[in-house]
Subunit: 164 residues, 2 copies
């Protein structure tokens, strides 16, 4: 598992990516893959602007790294995301035989924000299956660490609200 200092450094970088997505009018979400001491690739959300229902930043960055490595497996890879990855993205990390997952805000945070902000530009729709539960159901067993810079990541939900 990554230590707190490195996890927070990586999350700050993801928060920057989320701001990039917002600048393009997309969901404020950012993700990266960290492997063997380096950030291998980054991605911010391209969901709202594109036509691919699977274009979550976590999925996009996993595919990008696999393409770079010319290998569908990413051993020692850690997926870092501003928001708790959905079952689609956790499963992709399992299929890629990654090592672990770090996230900031939780699915519950996103759901609570949506409930408190009806009619917002983005729905922040969630599938009610927690990242750790999906990880526990797969092989290899990826470790999961949440709540990294959670407050800063939760504030990303508000960005679009301010822009509307």
């Amino acid at each position: 598992m990554l230590d707190k200092t490195i996890s927070e450094q990586l999350m700050k970088r993801c928060i920057g990516l989320a701001h990039d997505a917002t600048a393009r009018g997309d969901y404020a979400l950012g993700a990266l893959v960290y492997k063997d001491g380096h950030v291998i690739a980054e991605s911010s959300s391209d969901l709202a602007n594109g036509v691919d229902p699977s274009a979550h930043p976590e999925m996009t960055v996993i595919r990008k790294v696999a393409e770079m490595l010319k290998n569908r497996y990413i051993p020692n890879g850690v997926l870092v995301s501003t928001l708790e990855p959905c079952p689609m993205c956790v499963a992709a990390a399992i299929w890629a035989k990654m090592d672990g997952i770090v996230f900031g805000a939780s699915q519950t945070d996103a759901g609570n924000w949506s409930a408190q902000n009806p009619g917002s530009k983005f729905s922040w729709r969630q599938i009610n299956l927690r990242c750790a539960d999906v990880a526990a159901a797969g092989h290899p067993k990826l470790w999961v660490k949440g709540n990294i810079l959670r407050d800063e990541c939760c504030r990303l939900f508000d960005i679009e609200k301010q822009k509307i």
Copy 2:
């Protein structure tokens, strides 16, 4: 929900796609999307031959249809697959706001086959979360119908064994 006759016709087509994948040395898996009375697109597995950990035929065909429709939502779309879709593919169908899922062999069938055939070319690795449970956790609530031509779909696991 689709009736049995149509479901079986569509599954026969998926079984043909699975044979196509086998001819390319890939997992014997096939999937299609049926919408408004028509098969919109088909896909067979490109997982083992490619470098994309998400290239399950269900995921590939969902992306293909969204690209064709220029829309990340596929209303009234039904995903049909020879094998029970994994959490990644079920979640993609939920994000695409599809209508339902039809499958042939189950995750349990695949797991049992693997246990009985150690050392086979393909591991048929599974994530132990059932399609119906993932669907039930999402919005919209996709209907799920399994065991369509199950015996024929289970026989697909044996194809690679015969070729080795």
